[in-house]
Every structure is written in C-alpha cells, then in structure tokens.
Symmetry: C2
Subunit: 428 residues, 2 copies
C-alpha cells in the first residue's frame, strides 16, 4: 500500500473543504498516518461546473458506481446528502470492503443501525463525527471521552440557523420573520427553512447523540419535537426580564434507565453555560454521574469546520487500516431502550396567559394547578398595555408532564382564559 | 484472559474515585470491553488507614514492587503523585510489559517523552487524559478530534484554585489574601499554595497541551510563567470597568511554525467564551486554522471527574489489548521545535501607572511608546482618590514583546512615573 485512496461522493461545500484540508495539511496527515492521502475519484452532479479547488478532470465522474466499484479506493467519504439513494451507495461500498466516513445526519439518524450492521458484517469502519455539531468532536467525546461514566443528560444547541434567529431576536428586538429573511440572505437559512425552524434537523442530531450517550438505539420517532416558528418577541422579552435566554434546545435525559428526548424552545437560566452561546455557534452540554457538568462549544457548520471533522474521521480510519483493526471496535449500543412516560417526565414550565381582567381570575387559574398537584414557583399578574385583557406569567416548580397536560386541557374549558399564549420548558 | 487486572499505585482521592467507578459502572465497562475489570492490587502508604471504599485487605500492599512485579497485572494506574520515584516505578512497569494510565501532570510535563519512549520500546500504552483539566477529555480531543487541523492557539483556564480566587475577588470585591485563606479552608487550595498561585501547575499543563496541539516537544522551561499573587482588587476593578475579566490563562500560540507559551494573569474581553468560566471550573479554548473557535469546559479536579478520565483511558487501553494493538499508535509529536523570539511575540497590553499629577506627564509617557513604535488603543488619565498622584491607564494596540520590554525599561528612568502598578496581557 503506497497511498490511501479516497473516493469522494459529493463536491459541494463540505466536499470542497475536504479536498482543501487534504491538500493543505498533507504533510501533517502523512506524519500521523504514515502514508500519503490521495483524492482518487470524485462523484459530482455536473461535470462542467467550475469549482473552488482544482481536481484533475479525469478524477471527476457523474457515475456513483465508478467510485464505489473502483478497486483502488480504500475509503469512501460521503458528503452528498440525501437518504434513500445515498444509503444504497454506502451499503454497496461497505459490501465491497470500503470504509465509510459520512457527514450525513439525516442518513445516520434514520438508518445508522442498518449501516453500522453492514459495516460490522464486512469488517469495515463507518464514522460520522461531522454529522452533529460540525467542528465539535462531540461524537468521539461521547464514545471515548466518557466511556467510563454514566451520562444522565445531554442538552444541545445543535442547529445554527435557529440559534442565529433567536440570538438576533433577543439582541435586536427584531421579529421572527424579519430575522429569518435576513438569515436566508446571509446563507444561514435555506430557502425552505422548515427542517431547521421546526426542529427536525435538531431532532435528527439528538437521535444520534442520545444513542451514543445512553448506549441504546434511539429512533427519530422517540424525539418529541417543536420548533421556533411560533416564538414571539413578547416571549423573548419575558424570558430576558426573568433572567433567562430562549434557546432551541435538544434535551436528552436518563433516569433509572428510562430516557426521554425532546427538541423545543426552552428558557435557559442566564448563568447556565448554554445561555451565552450566540449566533450560529453550536454547543453540547453533557452531564455525567461522575464527571458532573461539561460543555463543548464550536462552529456547527461551514465548509472547513465540517471538513475538519470528516478528515479527523479519515485519519482514524487510516490508523485502523494500518493496524489492521477496522470494523473490530466494540459496540457502543448495548442497552435495551425504555422510554419515559409523561408521568415520569418532570420539568419546570413557563406559561404566559392572556386572561379577562376581573376579580377571581387568578384564583380560578391557580386552583387548576392545585387540582393537578402542580406547585408554582412564581406568579405575576399585570395589565397588558397592548390589550384590554390582563397577562399572567407563571413559572411552575418541577411538575410532571402528564399533570401539565391535564392543566392545559382544563384551561380550555375555563372562560376567563382568552389564550394560552406560550408554554416553555425551563432549565438551569 | 478472563479479566483485566489492575494494579493501582496510590489510594488517595483519585484512587478512591477509580475504585468507585470501576465498581459502580462494572456492567457498562464490561459491555464496552468484553471483560470484567478487577482491582487486583493497591499500593498504599498506610495499610491501616480507614478508607471510603472497601478493598479486600489482602489486595493492599505498601511495597510498590509487589504491584509492579505481579505477573497477573495487565495495567498500572498511577494516582500516587510525585516525580522521581514514581517515574522509576512506571519505567519498570512498562519494562515488564504493563500498560500505564497516569493522572500525574508533573511527571508527564517533566518526563513525558522518556516515558513514552519506554512505552514504545515495550509495545505498551501510556495514557494521561486526567493529567490536564480533570474531567474534560481535552487530550484525546487534541490527538484525535483535531488530527486533521492545524491548531494555532490554545488558551486554557487549567488551574481551578487560581480561577476560584480571581472569580471570588471579582464577584465579592474580597482581597487576594482573604480569598486565598477561604480557598484553603474549603480545600480548593493547598496549605502551601505556591505551585498553584505562582502559575507552575498551569505551566505544567500547558507543556502537555502545547506538545500535543503543536505536535512538537515542548518543555516546561519553554513556558514563560507568572502567577496571580500580585493581582490587586484595583486591577480587577479596572478590568471590569473596561469590559474585561482578569483570568490566569495559559496561552500557547503558533505562527509560521514558531511557537510561544505563557502562563500569566490576562485580561479577557467579557464576550470571550473563557471570560464567563467561573469558580473552580476549567476550560480550554482551541483555535484551529480550519475549525476556527472551539471551547471545552468542565470540572478541573475532584475525585470522580478525575477518576472518570482515568477510567476512560483504562477502557481505551483494554480495547487496544483486546485488538492486540497496544503501543502501536503513531507518534503525535513529529515537528522540530522553534520558539518565538520576543520580537515575534505580539500582544495587546494593559498598563496601570501611578504618576506625578502635573503638566506634561502624559506627553512624556506617550512619547516613550511612540519612540518604541508601540501604538495605543486607549489612554485614560484620572486623579487617584486614595493617592495624591494621578493614575494613567493605557491599552496598547498589538505590540511586540521586545518593544514593550524596551518601553518598560525606559519608564524606569522617567522621574514622573511613581510606579508601574500593573502590566497585563489583553486577549479577545
């Protein structure tokens, strides 16, 4: 073996970054793995499109199997995105004994177990550090760094688009739609931003993180997901006034081997390390029984940060190749999955209610909380300047989710409540 | 092989934590490495001392070679501390084919290369994640997570004692000596705190981090070190007023393959992620050419956090053992060392001068900066309420260290300057 030959599937932003890093850091990489690394073939959609980095024309192809079937290729790097077709390419590549590095969170969240099973069968590595939180090496941290500990909580700001939007709304008092428009112009949001703003992107990443953190096979359907499209400036102002930042958090928790995973806008105490993570940055907070509080912060996306993680995986694959131990690493998923019921999920909640401004309203509302055994940490009633009605802001003590759902159901038949304007989980 | 047998050298705080984690997480550990892990022998100083965890009496010994020479032992975990004697124990253990996990920063900073060479010779692993920043897996992050990138800056709050002292001085306006006294009572500072407060502890950790980050063999003598014992409340108040936090930072930088490493009290812009790391927490900020800004935050010390890192190393060693690849990992240090000269080191500086309160003083002082081509970002002159003299606060633009040293030398012969009260590096 004179060189490690790479087949690159996809030549967009991250693919370009991978070529750039492999070229610019060739000496460093060779010092670490003992062999030169060569980009042997690149699958592109359009052979004639001009590109930011130069790759010899005869290495470009628009036929995926020209890459997958090439016997000289040792490692496939998948940065093309997509799910069904891409999965088949990677299953086929693994069946041909090629190791795989992928940045594809959708694929790993939906079909990770199947791909890993295929990798095991053919004694191949499959690595996916870049699929979550771009440049932050959080996946190897969960697998190796905390191998000795029992992780009980993972809280992540794992979607840069929504963190950018909420940060801008908080800092500048601009509306959701205005900031979203700006984010599209800056390239921080897709032209169809649904997957980001409705929390689906974050849910996929939390599926991957909680599978590793809890060592059990979490599925996307296990993640209760709510996005930020209904967050108002009023909510953000209240959060700020009460000493919280409103963030789209993925939260995975474990208690007595029962787990729950949610993605939802959450009020985070301003002293919590996640509260000050602004802009498009990502951060993952991990709580372990033994280690306590830790946090990992960095860029969540972008050409070079994401490519850094892809090439770090490549280095790991090549080191394994040289040692002859690809596909031999022990499984990180070995626990049966037990999901928490709503009765077992316990959180603090913030509620903003618009109510009739007359005597006895507060007493009727607080009675409902009492009836369902939800106790309250703080209650504030005040006139609403822009509305003839009054506002009531409530923060509960820890309450189980089932009881909270019963409270919200009871509110529906309470005439004095005009609207339940907002309900947010509260952390820290 | 039916079980992995561990020889534990030292049974203090961290040793107790290791036994606790190995016992409490036995099922998890076994699921990951496929074998039970047994504490086979423990070296103690006093056989009769009562302990927080139970280890069968016949496993305790006060003879180090009863552990090191025991043929049934596969891995030595060194948590006894000390340098010269401990180094000999580990060299001997490696020579007998035993893998080593150590939490000993002094040993690794001073003799890391020699120990690693011995490990290579005998095809053994030596791992030392717990030696820096307790529960934060920063060492494997530098080796594996950023293997593909070129790290240009590492800034660390890597000493909990000094961070606690500076945080308390900042929050409560208490004096250095008062907070130090309190820290001793709380067990956050040793009875002889010299190594912590004078920056030596942080310098050892920066030696280890910069060796890994820059892939070159940094020695303790390469680290320019200054502690916090001369930091005054006045300094902290000025820092706060100007929008900075005063932190003891280890800073390792690389530019054009030339490096510099310092440990010194530094003014960090309050928007920088390191500025809000309070109390005994540690954090390491890493800047990579490709990845950009990242930060890793967590507990820097303590029984269980440190033991978490020790046992995570143990898991890695045992996985290697099962794969038959101990001691075969490629070297992470392969670059010749080139240190920056003072002319190549460039920073912003904060200066607090006590001066005569008369006409022309400021002009004389600013002339000296001009003479040495140091340009100024901001200058503030004001009367000092507690002193008949005036105060001048200066923040420079980026200036090279040699020029700054010439400025400070010129100040000595300037009659109008009463004292150069403080000089701090400014970051962020």
């Amino acid at each position: 073996m004179e060189a490690v030959n790479i087949g690159l599937l996809g030549f967009g932003t991250v693919g370009t970054g991978v070529v750039r890093i492999v070229e610019n850091h060739q000496d460093d990489l060779r010092s670490q793995v003992g062999l030169p690394i060569r980009i042997a073939k690149v699958l592109v959609r359009d052979l004639d499109k001009p590109r930011g980095v130069s790759v010899a024309e005869d290495k470009l192809t628009d036929d995926p199997y020209a890459v997958i079937d090439d016997p000289s290729i040792h490692v496939i790097i998948e940065v093309m995105g997509g799910v069904a077709r891409t999965k088949q390419y990677l299953l086929d590549a693994l069946a041909r004994g090629k190791h795989v590095v992928t940045a594809n969170k959708d694929l790993m969240a939906l079909h990770g177990p199947e791909l890993m099973e295929q990798a095991r069968r053919y004694k191949c590595d499959i690595m996916y550090e870049a699929s979550v939180a771009g440049g932050i090496p959080i996946i190897r941290t969960l697998i190796d760094g905390f191998s000795s500990d029992r992780i009980t909580k993972i809280m992540g700001i794992v979607n840069g688009t929504t963190n950018y939007i909420l940060s801008k709304m908080t800092e500048e008092g601009a509306s959701y739609l205005d900031v979203l428009g700006e984010a599209k112009q800056l390239g921080y949001a897709e032209s169809d931003p649904t997957s980001d703003v409705e929390g689906m992107d974050a849910a996929r990443k939390m599926t991957i993180l909680s599978t590793l953190g809890f060592r059990t096979e979490v599925e996307l359907a296990d993640v209760s997901t709510r996005g930020i499209s209904s967050v108002t400036l009023e909510d953000i102002r209240y959060a700020k006034r009460l000493g919280y930042a409103l963030k789209l958090l993925g939260i995975a928790e474990r208690q007595d081997e029962h787990i729950s995973i949610t993605v939802e806008p959450t009020m985070v105490k301003h002293t919590h390390p996640l509260a000050s993570v602004g802009g498009v940055f990502n951060a993952v907070y991990v709580y372990g029984e033994a280690v306590g509080e830790t946090m990992f912060y960095g860029p969540g996306a972008g050409e070079l940060p994401t490519a850094t993680s892809v090439v770090a995986d490549l280095v790991a694959v090549v080191k394994n190749l040289r040692l002859g131990v690809n596909g031999l690493h022990s499984s990180t998923v070995y626990k049966p999955k037990k999901l928490k019921s709503d009765e077992q999920i316990s959180n603090k909640y913030f509620l903003l209610l618009h109510v009739e401004d007359r005597a006895g309203v507060l007493s009727q509302i607080t009675q409902i909380f009492a009836d369902h055994e939800v106790s309250l940490e703080s209650v504030l009633q005040q006139p609403n300047p822009s509305n003839p009605k009054a506002e009531i802001i409530i923060i509960t003590h820890d309450a189980n989710l089932a009881a909270m759902k019963r409270v919200l159901a009871a509110f529906e038949s309470l005439d004095v409540i005009q609207t339940v304007q907002s309900v947010y989980r509260v952390e820290g």
